[in-house]
């Protein structure tokens, strides 16, 4: 860890910041929620690596997708990812986002998450140990150093590709409280329909 290397920090302050200040939004869709609390609290203490949990995607630059991704949560994942500030890194945690894991033949589970949003690193296992998150973080530092963690650039350059993949899955699925087209005419907001579905 060259966090205290002042010369290197002054040469590239932005990169120094991106590396050692990873604020994470944990998207806990399933079993991964059990592994995260020991990581961020006293037992494993992720804060010594500069990794902090954040409550909102606007403040975060590390996106951890833990556990399986269903079609319904994919919409929320895409929305969360698009809300994050630009140099942003994604890590898929567990077997399920990699290839479906034990839900490999489920009709309702996304098998490969990187068809829909770019993924910088994978942590395989069902479930991985909390230490695997630190291995992933140090690996991510190396990737940022050599300029390989460019998922957010890939997303911008190949947006049409990702968008068409997303539409293929989400096109037929419409949330009850979300009108088609994205904008809500003021008169049409009827209260109380949000949770009815």
């Amino acid at each position: 860890m060259d966090r205290a290397d002042i010369v290197k920090a002054l040469r590239g302050p932005g990169q120094w910041g991106h590396k050692y200040s990873l604020w994470a939004v944990y998207f806990c869709t399933g079993c991964g929620i059990i592994e995260i609390p020991p990581v961020i609290t006293s037992r494993w203490d992720a804060e010594r690596f500069g990794v902090l949990p954040m409550a909102t995607p606007r403040q975060a630059n590390l996106f951890m997708i833990t556990g399986y991704v269903s079609v319904k949560t994919l919409r929320a994942i895409v929305r969360t990812y698009e809300q994050m500030s630009a140099p942003k890194y994604t890590v898929a945690f567990g077997s399920c986002p990699v290839n479906g894991g034990m839900y490999w033949d489920s009709y309702n589970t996304i098998k490969r998450i990187d068809k829909y949003i770019p993924i910088d690193g994978w942590i395989a296992g069902c479930m991985p140990r909390p230490e695997a998150i630190f291995i992933a973080v140090t690996k991510l530092w190396h990737m940022i150093d050599v300029g390989a963690a460019t998922g957010w650039k890939r997303y911008q350059e190949n947006y049409d590709h990702y968008k068409s993949n997303q539409d293929q899955v989400l096109g037929t699925f419409q949330e009850r409280d979300e009108p088609q087209g994205g904008t809500v005419p003021v008169g049409e907001c009827t209260p109380g329909t949000g949770l009815s579905g």
């Binding site: 966090r3 910041g17 050692y20 200040s21 203490d45 804060e47 954040m54 909102t56």
Partner: protein, 295 residues
């Protein structure tokens, strides 16, 4: 008053405030038996936030954070930091009282522009909490002004250094206790961190802020904690004969605040108001009455 003090005073506040951010994280980590981040972690965070691309929701969204930061920077100049005090000769406590409101109001203005429901809840909580601690805080200020017979902060500090600390003279000891009880509410730390409660309302007014706006807000927060604690030190702990002793006292008070923050859980907004309007107000009223009678 020298021109160099106009630069020196905010610089001292900035560096001490940023040091506080790191110090509080390290101390909290040690209390929770963790190793914790390095002391300079807030510097890394702020540098990163400035290097990120940031999303704005409109002009007020940007103006709000700037108003809040500028308000805090100007407030620092009215507070004696040891011998450094560029604007001590004018205004005094009355100006400080008004200027301290700029921080919360600017942030409320910016957060309102983001139109996020969590931000609205956070802003309403912030205003209610300000209402809760302003009442005892004004009573404390009033009793300090009555006791020393002046509204000038420099004069209050000079009188304490000639005689006894405010904390050690009888009516003001009660005021000091009242001020210490509302200190966590003014700093926005636990048990009164309900404004930016991350688990409940996704960090409240800051919910839509990211990138360089969040960096400015972090710096403003550092200034704000420094201002609140510097006021406490100037009122009750005799200020400082030079910057060194002053900052030492500030550090001691801040460490006490961090210890409270590390062990207590969060209260609800109605409990916070009930607490602030009960014991601190009672203590401050008794102290005010005594300082009027004994004078």
């Amino acid at each position: 008053m020298q021109p160099v003090e106009f630069v020196l005073s905010p610089l001292v506040a900035f560096f001490v405030g940023v040091f506080f951010l790191g110090f509080s994280r390290k101390l909290t980590a040690r209390i929770q038996r963790r190793y914790g981040p390095p002391l300079y972690q807030p510097v890394i965070d702020v540098v990163k936030l400035f290097a990120q691309r940031s999303i704005s929701h409109g002009v007020l969204f940007e103006v709000g954070v700037v108003v809040s930061l500028v308000g805090s920077v100007i407030t620092v100049m009215f507070i004696p930091l040891g011998r450094i005090c560029p604007l001590c000769s004018s205004g005094g406590l009355l100006v400080v009282m008004y200027l301290m409101l700029f921080g919360p109001l600017g942030l409320a203005l910016g957060a309102g522009e983001s139109a996020n429901p969590n931000a609205s809840i956070g802003v309403s909580r912030k205003m209610l909490l300000a209402l809760a601690y302003e009442v005892p805080f004004l009573l404390v200020i009033l009793s300090v002004m009555c006791h020393y017979g002046t509204i000038s902060l420099a004069e209050i500090v000079a009188q304490q250094q000639a005689g006894r600390w405010g904390l050690l003279s009888l009516p003001l000891a009660l005021s000091a206790l009242a001020a210490f009880l509302i200190l966590p509410a003014m700093l926005g730390i636990r048990p009164f961190d309900l404004v930016s409660a991350p688990q409940e309302i996704a960090s409240g007014p800051l919910v839509e802020y990211g990138g360089r706006y969040l960096a400015v807000i972090a710096i403003q927060g550092a200034f704000h904690s420094f201002i609140v604690i510097a006021l406490f030190v100037d009122f009750f702990l005799g200020g400082g004969t030079n910057v060194g002793t002053f900052l030492l006292k500030v550090l001691v008070v801040f460490a006490a605040g961090v210890l409270i923050n590390a062990v207590l859980p969060r209260v609800k907004i109605e409990e916070a108001i009930k607490f602030c309007w009960k014991w601190p107000v009672a203590l401050a009223v008794v102290s005010l009455a005594l300082s009027v009678v004994l004078r």
